[in-house]
Amino acid sequence: MCGVCGCGQAEIDDGQVHGHSHGALLHDHGRGPAGVHAPGLPQSRLVQIEQDILAKNDGYAAANRARLAAAGVLALNLVSSPGSGKTALLTATLGLMRGRCALGVIEGDQQTSNDAERVRATGVPAVQINTGKGCHLDAHMVGHAMDALALASGGVLFIENVGNLVCPAGFDLGEAHKVVVLSVTEGEDKPLKYPDMFAAADLMLLNKIDLLPYLDFDVGACIAFARRINPAIAVIEVSALRGHGMEDWTGWIEQARRRAAGAG
């Protein structure tokens, strides 16, 4: 594009190429009729956008959040790397919370509905989202999944994200809290290696702590690393398999649930 007049270096009627001789401060628009651009030729110009790429997702997320608040439902977005025991933790949690309040689950995986089936086996309704090639859930997908789950006021919606510690950090789903699950088999420096997720989460669940005697895992260092990234992050140590710490975790949910129900 011509930086002086913003014209599109268009060719004009008489077939003469637009001569750009700005060096001599001469801006020749050619010798066509009236010396102007031929009509209909494309004009290049600059358009200011200044928009966040995630703005669209954030808009859907805000709509989800408003729906959840109006319904008095607490939504938790569970994130972790694959194999952290997220689904086992979720089914154990559902087992403990069943009968206390309405529960629902949105399962995100690239493929299969295995996890939704594991959840349904506990008697809690679940909707599976398969992201295909996608590495994260987005707020638009979750909004549609919410249509299929009618949750009563005071209920809890668990959203189990795709196992991935990178991409889901940037995609707000409209949840009240992101909860990051880290298992002690993964290495205590994960919060430093994948800081975005730990920065975005309000709670870290340190899972599989029953395995600590067999591992060289420094719990104190792991928590210090997480707080270096996110000074406000809460931490609960749990074993979904053995039940350690599960009352602390369900107690945390209970408090958040009351806040959400009160706001609705």
Binding site: P42, S44, R45, L46, V47, I53, C135, P195, D196, R228
Partner: protein, 120 residues
């Protein structure tokens, strides 16, 4: 940089960029995008090369096919919650260079924005 062979998350971001410029095409009345200027924070968890690759792929057959992608990288900045000093950071979780504290708040460098387009 994280070496990754499958830039799926950047691909999703590129799809969002294309949606945004297609929406703007109706409002601002253009039919062709020649250049896209993006602002990408160094802490935005975006790999620039993956973003370029994804952009070429998703814009194929669109009004932005073949458009140049100009990326302005914005360094990360944090403000120390202890001494108030603001400083440049290469990664989250770095200590304050003045007082050594890790208690800090990110103030810049996490954004991914479309700034400007050259259109015709």
């Amino acid at each position: 940089m994280r070496p990754r062979s499958n830039p799926v998350h950047e691909l999703a971001l590129c799809e969002s960029v294309l949606e945004l410029i297609e929406e703007q095409a109706r409002v601002q009345r253009y039919t062709r995008v020649n250049t896209v200027w993006l602002e990408v924070g160094s802490l935005a968890a975006v790999e620039i090369e993956a973003l370029r690759f994804g952009f070429d792929v998703v814009t194929r057959g669109s009004l932005a096919e073949g458009a140049a992608l100009e990326i302005r990288e914005i360094p990360g900045r944090a403000r120390c919650l202890c001494c108030g000093e603001s400083h440049e950071i290469a990664a989250r979780g770095e200590a304050c260079p003045r007082c050594g504290s890790y208690r800090s708040q990110l103030i810049d460098g996490a954004q991914i924005r479309v700034q400007e387009l050259e259109v015709s």
